[in-house]
Amino acid sequence: MPEEYLVAQELHKSFNEQKAVDGVSFTIYRGEIFGLLGPNGAGKTTAIRMMSTVLEPDRGDVIIGGHSVRREADAVRSQIGVCPQELALYEDLSALDNLVFFGRMAGMSGKEARAQAMARLELMGLSERAKGKVDKFSGGMKRRVNLAVGLMGHPEMLFLDEPTVGVDPQSRNNIYETIEGLRDGGMTILYTTHYMEEADRLCDRVAIMDGGKIIALDTPYELRSQIGEPERVTLEDVFLKLTGRSLRD
């Protein structure tokens, strides 16, 4: 029986009376890559922000590693790493400076932060550019630094919000391999993406959100099976069938 690591319970969040997340509940097991898919405005990022303690839910709660994001935010923060959709970096500092800074913010000593920063940059294939200023990096390199920062500290769970947007195939492949390696090392990962083949390749289970609700949740194989022969249909077919073909803002 897999161990429950993250349990979202009836999460609700509204902005100006517009429901962004409307009663979302799901469970992520330890060591799993859980995909959260959905069209623009489906509520994925709002859900991630609530789960990563940045945004307080209007109602409901999330339990991560046995701690409530509402009541024990600090305990939750010490267990998670976040890689936001935006490049949340200090572009006028070097890649190494960025990683060391966030490492120290996570409570590491200077020596430890520096050693881990170099290890993370090595993992992302950036050790030779460690001292280069981030604003001189390509889009793919910045994405990899963004992911490396999320790994600073000793997170047991990683939130990855569209980490491969605007990334060249080489960098994307590096990110995939890194994520698979982290999973193999026992890390729990929540992953959002618009690329269905990415979710199909990486995710153990996938939840599809639309209109702030979860409309489907299963393994990619089972989801494909729901609309046809799993070997012949893609996750994108499932996605379009469930969320429709109308354009979203």
Binding site: A88, Y90, G153
Partner: protein, 414 residues
Amino acid sequence: MRQLRQIAFIALKDLKRFSRDRPALLAFILFPFLFVAVFYFMFEGVGSEDDRLAFHLATREGAGGMSHQIITAMETRDPSQLQPGEPEIVWLKDYAEARRQVEDGELGGFLVFPEDFTEGIMMGYGARLEVVADAEATNTRMALYGLAQAIATQVGAQQVVTNTTVALLVEQGLATGEMPDIGQAIMGPVSAQSGASTVPPLIQYETEKVGEVKAEQPSNFVILGYLVMFVFFAAAQSASLIVRERQNHTLERLLASSVARESILGGMFIGTAVKGLLQIVIFWTVGLLIFKMDMGLSPTAVVLLSILMTIMSAAFGLMLATLVKTERAAGSIGTLAALILAPLGGCWWPLFILPKWMQSLAKITPHGWANTGFNKLMLFGADFGDVIPEMLALVVFAVIFGIIATWRFRTSAA
């Protein structure tokens, strides 16, 4: 303890970013000094030199005439002994040469006693003093007219006394009516030299001293005005950086990294304040070493006032960042606020030369309080206790800005 460390790391990170931002360094350090240098040299001739007023006198009378006695009594013998504001009186012995100097534009003008000055006074038909002045030397001409009028009034008053005395003596049979001789006997001591005689001089100049009149270093008000303006401007501009951090989600990332909201706020405040402190250290060092600034009677008060100005400015920058949504709005409003508050608060010109209503208006700006404090300390010889109101006012501004910033601070752009 962990929070304090996080505050320090955030502040250090901001300083590191600042140190690597060459345009920002130029804008916040070099640019202010270019301003200061330009305005220092512009103001160098204003107030720094004692342009002493000089009156030139001449007489066409022969030796022994009363005009000789009057001029001798008035003439400045040792200009170094003159008090601030006291004019120098110069006796031009050669009338023709003096006239040539005026015609050649070498001299603005002079006052001439006529050939019959003594006779005219003694005989009672009067004497006409003449002002010889360059047509364009309006101020010199007006000053000489004033001097001529003063001499005429004094001599006229003495003559009335003399005539009345002579008339009484004649009436009582004590004199024969040889008026010129008697008059000369009475007028003589009156017009004797002031230094050599116990009798007061004929013309007296009285200088009323209001405070210590002293030639001022222009740096004492130029640098401080710009110090106040640029420290505030730099802090206001830091609001843009804070908004950028909110927009690119680094603040959210910090929050998700176990950094408390208060630590983020504190770190950004300290970072901005330290940048301001670096600015004032450089300003003061250059001001003291290059521009020969005088810190007045209480350097401690000057330093404390500078620090409070920096703290207030940092609090303003933080508050501005919490009140605007975009980086562009922060930059525009920060610049606008700095440029409006600077002249209102006396950064561009000394407040004490402004009309009362503008001095009152300055009180609504923190700049006004800071500049008033600096002016008191460095121009008017105030000590620590005299500027406590200005220090308290800056503290009040800082607290108000800080409360608003804390209340409004958010890590997310949403």
